[in-house]
Point group: C2
Chain length 397, copies 2
């Protein structure tokens, strides 16, 4: 008898992951070269050479007992310092090692942050469309996930609407920019407006409301004019969650961090809680060898040009055909309005053409599909004529 | 404002980890060579050379996208198969990849198992003395940790006493052999007696009661005549949790597995739940590169002779002085009756001699201290005269 809470989760097991398995099965049946799998955010781009070299250097130059051993639950002191220094250089923050907790990826980090802050019954606010796993993470701490409806067609949060969803029970607001699944980057004006609302609401209710900035795609922006504001500068009660899964193509390694604002309420207690939560949730610490590698590659980034080209090819190709796409400034997702109302039905029809996509319903926003373009350019090329025939078919429905 | 549940945890933050920090501070003050830190289970033994070689081979021979990429939440199929084959060779089990879930260490594995099985209010049974973190893990799933009192002086569970602690709410029993903190290995007769009790109780209550065998020390036994029974052979509803932290000196890497008995109740649902729990708790998957390394080193073990010598030097040395020690057949801990009643006071006095130990209270069993002997032989040598003077001091109290 599995746990009650797990029964539904097991039954409805993540749409995204199911598609992953389905893709594998279709590949075996029809040949991998014929299946266009746009379903998963698994970078089809090797980690930069710097990673391989750093792994070699670490195991040759550093002591094995140290490299593979326990350290403080928050991570190696020097690694945390290297991360803090890198953030300070790039974003003008004033972090030290004490502001950084190394985490088992962004997913691990978000669970650690929620465990540290959330009481049962607290509300966590997210903006639709959102990464479906937020719902599970909120459930882990018996919180209620409150969803602000999508603001179409820009998919930028509207501060006035947002304000209506903040209650005395709101403890955390998740901001995810560059956004999964829309690829939209929130400009500074949006961040300022949201921060203003939260400051007012904190005063009105006499509560602390924390922003958790979920930023695994921070580095993945495709135009020099697009800036991703660093949120600790705009709002004191901010934690920034990061992962090198995308920027260094290391999703399997489970390595990320939480950066805590110097001005956050109860800094000492909160950073201690993050440390303890890392331990008691069973993470214990972020994987050690990869932490040491990160210290040596902290300013490296994967080949963004690869993703930019993919974006342009896919966005331009589909837009020209007549698909209604949100132009993604960042991340590696394309968010498309489905030509028929039912996004799940559309995704099913697409499968006949060996096109694997994720229906918007998985992100709390019907009538759209998400394509991940962290794939081979060849696959995008192969897919375009298929998308064209698909559009013709559904137009005639 | 941190979460209510975290407040006490932050305040009482793990005794073991506090000692770790304290040891560092004492080392800075008095010189590392003068501090004898027996407090933490952090192997002072480098990982076998095979690990270094395997890391190099993996990054040279395998595709980087594959090595650092996502895979099924339960782990790479071939790695799980390699683990299953190794268990089959060594213990005569009949596992396939489907029986194995790769985990973020044993701590990650235990949290995944509890999330998969436990409903709020369920009871999880542990035998005193026990690894103090069990209490936190049980709390994560709102379970009640029921503690069977220590059976002195053997520290082997007594089946009749055990039976009294099994109720209709019992969902899981944790068996940890070789044991932390006593070093005791449960013989087959003990396992059979406990399994018989559980089968009877399952029938009586019409419930399923699962054994979680927490086995990070399985390979660490110091005598060919000592066998560690593999629990799936004795009881159907068994999950075995393992970690390579100790056997391959990789505690920082967070790599382990859960092996699920073929005959466990609801095998399909349970293994799916373990997969989903790995995902939603934020682990997502066990770190990928180290998974691939494990596949190449699955039968390797650290230098047991190193630990055996340490055990003999410490156990013989302290016993001869007059300390009342439990002879450890396995793990790398020595469990000593404190010469004064108050174990915390004794540990405090020991600190004056720069001897760092963990009071038994941290393991739910007063009147004892635990020494970890995964340390340098030199440190044990240095410590012996200190322990002698310490004993003389407390005898005169």
């Amino acid at each position: 008898m599995i746990a009650e809470k797990m029964k539904e989760l097991v039954a409805n097991s993540s749409v995204i992951r199911k598609m992953f398995e389905e893709g594998k099965n279709l590949s075996e049946k029809y040949g991998a070269e014929n299946v266009c799998d746009f379903s998963l955010g698994n970078p089809n781009l090797a980690a930069p050479d710097g990673i391989k070299n750093a792994i070699k250097s670490v195991i040759e130059e550093e002591d094995a007992v140290f490299v593979h051993g326990y350290m403080n639950n928050s991570g190696y002191e020097d690694v945390r310092k290297a991360v803090a220094d890198s953030l300070n250089r790039r974003f003008g923050t004033e972090f030290g090692a004490e502001n950084i907790v190394m985490t088992v990826g962004a997913a691990g980090g978000m669970n650690v942050a929620m465990k540290s802050l959330i009481n049962p019954g607290d509300e966590i606010v997210a903006f639709a469309p959102f990464f479906g796993e937020y719902r599970c993470y909120a459930s882990n701490v018996d919180a209620k996930l409150v969803v602000v409806p999508a603001n179409e067609p820009s998919f930028l949060p509207d501060a006035e609407v947002f304000a209506k969803y903040i209650t005395p029970k709101t403890k955390m607001v998740i901001i995810n920019s560059p956004n999964n699944p829309t690829g939209v980057v929130y400009p500074e004006s949006t961040i300022i407006a949201l921060a203003d609302v939260l400051r007012e609401k904190q005063k009105e209710y006499g509560t602390e409301i924390y922003i958790f900035a979920d930023e695994p795609y921070r580095e993945l922006v495709y135009d020099d004019t697009v800036k991703v504001p660093f949120l600790t500068k705009y709002y004191d009660n901010t934690l920034v969650g990061y992962s090198w899964s995308k920027s260094l193509s290391l999703p399997g390694e489970r390595i990320g961090y939480i950066a805590v604002s110097n001005k956050i309420a109860n800094f000492e207690d909160l950073t201690s809680a993050l440390n303890v939560a890392t331990r008691i949730l069973g993470f214990v610490n972020a994987p050690s060898l990869i932490q040491r590698v990160i210290a040596r590659c902290v300013d490296d980034v994967a080949d963004l040009e690869f993703y930019r080209k993919n974006r342009d090819m896919l966005y331009n190709g589909l837009s020209e055909m007549g698909y209604d796409c949100v132009k993604p400034d960042g991340a590696f997702y394309l968010w498309i309005k489905t030509p028929i109302e039912d996004d799940s039905e559309f995704a099913e029809i697409a499968k006949k053409y060996l096109l694997l996509t994720v229906p918007g319903s998985a992100f709390g926003c019907k009538g759209y599909i998400r394509l991940s373009y962290c794939v081979s350019p060849k696959m995008i090329e192969t897919s375009l004529p298929k998308f064209k025939t698909l559009l013709e078919e559904v137009k005639n429905m």
